[in-house]
């Protein structure tokens, strides 16, 4: 099927009117291309090209429109996502997109939305096929941990994210996240979850050290959520919908979760040897690697995964979101994370693996 220039003309017309009213000096604004793209299943995501004129002449611009669906993979406030992108954009060489418009009124496009600048020339990397980045696996891996650390290094005092979300106490980051995902699991699970329930009890009974620092946490930093330029560099860090303020170890553990390492446990996140990855992360973040903290947060990462996949499956089963990726993740990745949790906790409880 040929690529359609505008696959939703009604939405395109409404968006053109909105954009013309919100880009200073813009006139005769047209949407020349709009198509819905996969990725970021928490919101409807469209790639949009616009053309317009202003006082300096004709202009064209590539945009990403993220519109709230009836239900989403993750129930988050787009204001927080927008603020997180603004917090990171232009800082510490983090390739965050430019945050352009935030509209909380459902009137203009039928649902709240926000718009970012599109970062051109990047390719996503399938987390289950990391080898496709070869021969630049090492270079991309170094960028991966440099950007991960850089996000943790940002000063959150007075940053846009701090205006939109509470800042927890350093000793309470773990509890806030554990309580949140335990609630998500219990609210959305369609059948009993003995492994998740046992993990919740185990994590609550053996908390990690307090956060070394309070930082911007991307929340979903992993392969699949960045673009690379095909020449060894990451050119965009995407999908900030789970961003919050918390412990940098949450991002480190999620980014290196076994699910995202393409079965290559010898390399952190499937990219580079662990010692090199941790050295880069420490230098960029200003944190010191603590195995005890990492052990807790890496177990928590499996549980957080279960929370995401259980919520996904529920949204699909209830008919609130018809994207089959939610059903798939509620099955395959749920099973994977449950097996990871069961393996690690069974060993801690005397089962010979």
């Amino acid at each position: 099927m040929p690529d359609t220039a505008v696959d939703n003309p009604t939405l395109a017309d409404k968006f053109a009117a909105y954009a013309e009213a919100h880009i200073p000096g813009a006139g005769n604004l047209r949407v020349t291309h709009m198509n819905r793209i996969h990725g970021g299943a928490s919101r409807e995501t469209y790639s949009v090209d616009i053309a317009y004129e202003d006082a300096t002449g004709p202009k064209v611009k590539g945009l990403i429109l993220r519109r709230d669906p009836a239900d989403s993979l993750i129930d988050t406030d787009r204001r927080v996502e927008f603020a997180a992108i603004r917090t990171a954009y232009g800082k510490a060489n983090i390739p965050a997109p430019e945050a352009l418009f935030l509209e909380t009124d459902p009137g203009p496009l039928g649902a709240p939305f926000f718009v970012m600048g599109r970062i051109e020339g990047g390719t996503p990397l399938n987390p289950f096929r990391i080898e496709e980045v070869e021969p630049y696996r090492t270079e991309v891996g170094r960028d991966f941990f440099r950007h991960l650390g850089a996000i943790a290094s940002l000063d959150i005092d007075g940053a846009p994210i701090a205006d939109e979300i509470d800042t927890p106490e350093a000793g309470q980051c773990w509890k806030r996240e554990l309580d949140h995902w335990a609630s998500e699991i219990r609210t959305h699970a369609r059948e009993p979850q003995p492994v998740a329930e046992a993990a919740i009890r185990y994590l609550a009974a053996s908390p990690p050290p307090p956060a070394q620092k309070l930082a911007l946490v991307h929340g979903d930093f992993r392969s699949g959520n960045f673009l690379h330029d095909g020449a060894g560099h990451i050119c965009a860090v995407l999908d900030w919908e789970m961003a919050h303020i918390g412990d940098p170890y949450e991002d480190l553990a999620w980014a290196t979760d076994l699910l995202w390492c393409a079965s290559d446990q010898a390399r952190a996140a499937g990219f580079i040897p662990w010692p090199e990855a941790l050295a880069i992360w420490q230098e960029a973040s200003g944190c010191t690697f603590d195995p005890q903290a990492f052990e807790w947060w890496s177990l928590f990462a499996h549980l957080k995964g279960l929370g995401i996949w259980i919520s996904s499956a529920r949204a699909f089963a209830d008919g609130k979101n018809d994207d089959p990726i939610l059903a798939w993740s509620g099955w395959f990745t749920h099973a994977a994370h449950e097996l990871m949790l069961a393996s690690r906790l069974a060993e801690k409880h005397g089962v010979k693996i």
Binding site: P194, A198, A335, H349
Partner: protein, 138 residues
């Protein structure tokens, strides 16, 4: 075998023709899930029957006579209802065992973990076999 072939058709024939359209991703991932469903269709009743038997044995080992009746039929929905009721009781039992500080409780808890691990391993689907659809799972 039928669902396997339907899945292969969706992934290898339908999805490529829809490339560039949002529905192409739907077709691909639906194809992968058809294959997964085919695998599970064959073994789901066996998995549930084994889980039910092991759950009853664990509860009995704890001296808890479960009050969950036998499944009304061998329909998956009936077997699941029985398994789920027993799972709720297992969660309560394991919570109680964790609070106890004796060797017998620890030993039974180890058996429960062995069961949870075996169940999780048995329910892990085979990896997706189609790269085209897999790429949508990002």
């Amino acid at each position: 075998m039928i669902l396997q072939r339907i899945g292969a058709t969706l992934v290898q024939d339908v999805a490529p023709k829809l490339e560039g359209d949002y529905s192409g991703g739907h077709a691909g991932i639906s194809g992968v899930m058809a294959v997964m469903a085919g695998e599970m269709w064959d073994k789901e009743a066996d998995l549930l029957a084994n889980e039910i038997a092991r759950l009853r044995a664990l509860l009995e080992a704890a001296g808890m006579g479960d009050d969950v009746p036998e499944a009304a039929s061998l329909k998956i929905s009936d077997l699941k209802a029985t398994r789920n009721a027993l799972s709720e009781q297992l969660i309560a039992l394991q919570t109680r065992l964790e609070a106890a500080d004796d060797e017998a409780s620890r030993a039974l808890n180890t058996q429960i973990w062995a069961h949870l691990l075996a169940t999780s391993a048995a329910r892990m689907p085979s990896p997706p076999a189609f790269a085209a659809a897999e790429s949508e799972a990002t």
